[in-house]
Symmetry: C2
Subunit: 408 residues, 2 copies
């Protein structure tokens, strides 16, 4: 007799939860000899291993810090780390205090908290198409609808968003953007596009979630102001600003300690601290103490090393695309970050192509459909240059390109 497995009756929100196609893919693609453009993760040789080792040893050996580090701690996060972030935010044009900062377990947790704070079922989130897949996953538990944000094209009326949100059964609740070197496109919003997003958010009276995961990794040119700093120029203070800034150390120092932050008005941060308390009490204080010292000591150097490393890889990838890709294929030219977004002729579906890409061309990438809230636009792929070296990047692009004409 086969005993049936037990399954309880799940809440309605569970239906919308599915595995990240990327994360599932990454498991399949870990094959020897395959050049992976699939992962969007930092190169592990960039991690400041020596400083991580010495800092853990120092903190744990400290008679006061050591026992504190292994105890429960406050939900808002380690005060000296929040103070370092205050000075970092000042460098981005955002004057704030430690009461405007809460530590999260990576910016992923920050996005999840914001979904929880803002979204009721059938409310509308405004997101770009394509956008960061992890944000779509974080919001999914709160059963939203999506409408398309087009920052570079400020022509759609606020009324059209409001009526679409009402027709979907809720209200427009926020706009989510990755303004610098976005995942998956690598593109950066122009100053006009930033102004468009802020104007739309004011017209709709909704907050803007500004995800800055890649902002520090600028290879060339002048940085554009953060949306939060631009909004504060108009409102006069962080506490009056409608922009919620998501920051992270994952792409600059290490993702392994799982430390990010939210910066917003104190009222919003107070609410988020309650969410943090109910969710996991606090992020590990030991990791926060270590990250604080690493930030103080190696942040600038880490950013410089990462920029130098990734710039060379970006150059190799763009050059190889130019050299090897057949006509009809186009791609973005990122000025920073980890990604190039490739657009294929409409009759090629990179999801269908992936198996052959891995087995015949020995190249892996992420098919683009997963980055669209509505799953539209199948003819795109995300290539990351963060892990392979420059020779492998050239070889991988060539092998991928050789696969393409055969389909035409």
């Amino acid at each position: 007799m086969v005993i049936p497995n037990y399954e309880p009756e799940y809440a309605g929100r569970v239906e919308g939860m599915k595995a990240s196609e990327i994360r599932e893919l990454l498991k399949l693609l870990e094959q020897p000899g395959v050049i992976s453009f699939a992962g969007g993760i930092p190169h592990p040789t960039l991690f400041p291993m020596g400083e991580v080792q010495s800092t853990y040893a120092e903190v744990l050996a400290d008679k006061t810090l050591g026992p504190q580090a292994l105890q429960y701690s406050v939900s808002e996060g380690y005060l000296p780390l929040r103070q370092w972030i205050v000075s970092h935010m000042a460098g981005r044009g955002v004057e704030c205090s430690s009461g405007n900062i809460v530590i999260t377990s990576g910016s992923q947790q920050g996005l999840e908290f914001l979904g929880r704070l803002l979204l009721s079922p059938n409310d509308t989130a405004l997101v770009e198409a394509p956008t960061y897949l992890g944000a779509l996953q974080a919001f999914a538990a709160f059963e939203p609808q999506y409408d398309e944000l087009r920052p570079e094209d400020g022509n759609r009326t606020p009324e059209s968003y409001l009526s679409a949100a009402a027709a979907a059964g809720g209200s427009a609740k926020f706009a989510y953007v990755v303004p610098d070197f976005a995942n998956p496109t690598g593109l950066t919003l122009s100053l006009a596009a930033r102004q468009n997003v802020l104007k739309l958010a004011r017209d709709l009276d909704v907050p803007v979630i500004e995800d800055t995961a890649y902002a520090a990794l600028r290879f060339e040119g002048q940085a554009l102001p953060s949306l939060q700093a631009m909004d504060m120029e108009q409102t006069g203070s962080i506490d009056a600003s409608r922009v919620i800034y998501c920051g992270t150390f994952s792409k600059t120092i290490t993702p392994g300690l799982r430390i990010g932050w939210l910066c917003a008005s104190q009222d919003i941060i107070r609410r988020i601290v309650l969410v943090k308390q109910a969710t996991d009490l606090n992020s590990p204080l030991l990791n926060q103490m270590v990250m604080c010292r690493l930030a103080e000591q190696v942040y600038e150097r880490q950013v410089m090393s990462a920029i130098e490393r990734y710039r060379g890889r970006r150059d190799a990838m763009l050059q190889a695309l130019e050299t090897y890709m057949p006509k009809g294929v186009t791609w973005t030219k990122p000025a920073g970050g980890l990604f190039v977004w490739v657009i294929l002729p409409y009759d090629i579906d990179p999801a269908e192509l992936l198996k052959r890409a891995v087995s015949e061309a020995h190249v892996a990438y992420v098919p683009g459909a997963a980055f669209f809230a509505a799953g539209q636009n199948r003819n795109c792929m995300r290539l990351s240059y963060s892990l392979p070296n420059e020779d492998d990047i050239v070889r991988g692009v060539r092998q991928l390109a050789e696969l393409l004409p055969a389909l035409n």
Copy 2:
């Protein structure tokens, strides 16, 4: 001109989120000279500091483990740690495999995930009165109703729960219990009570959430079987069991690394892994690697040290209560864990008494009302003996007792 602070329109669930009275209280009570029975946290001198130091150093120095530890990792958690937990669960009578285990950021996150998985607004959660405050906070985001679970009194009919849940606008979704040395009462469910809970859950066809945070800290007597093991005797396998086991290292090794786990049927665990992925991707792998080695090396010794330490404190507190408390005051006699639950005459409200207790008697405790889902029963207080030494425990109880008759 005063600029108004910005506040977005929050989701409906935000109304139910409030600060833990305990955590807010703890901030007020940190005064020199006050004997604190308020915190329910482990004594920091019990932390295996030497092993923590050497294990962080070893893992980070390892050429393979070190870079892995600082990278993103899988949402289900570090396999060797899950394997250690599998053997630990076998010791609790639960035969399972690593596919039945997911690592969470403390058991608090496990409770939050289960609320998310199971509760739609107005669904009913069955909880004891009183129960663990952190569970009420974790569930609150999902807007449940509560009904009272009375494990020692199996007389209430399943039909009465079903009709109450329907009247509240939803369904009964799970029963939550802390069977061993519960927070806040210190009480342990009898074998008959465990059977009552399982029978009720089967009659209602709902899962049981078994929170075992204190189960390892038994000072005397024979351990009672876990509800999961009892259920598996009937169902024949973990995958057919309706019990979801929440475990944690917080009370045995350290709460600072924020590592707990859920053990349940593979179908439930697969769902929880998706929740984990959307929520914070993964718990820090470095901390998981360190906890795995600590569990392998010092778990038994840590449990023995904690038992020895807390048993002496429990004895001192019970003896002092016997010696000093006026007539009309009663209390529980815990056989393990960290808490004694004191019941005062009905006309004494320990929340009102707390200010005088701190300023005049130099003693702090947690008023009991917060542990009741409906806020009923104000005349109780939770005393923890985990932090003060035995002399301070005796002195603190005496000073607290001296305050009481003055009210009568």
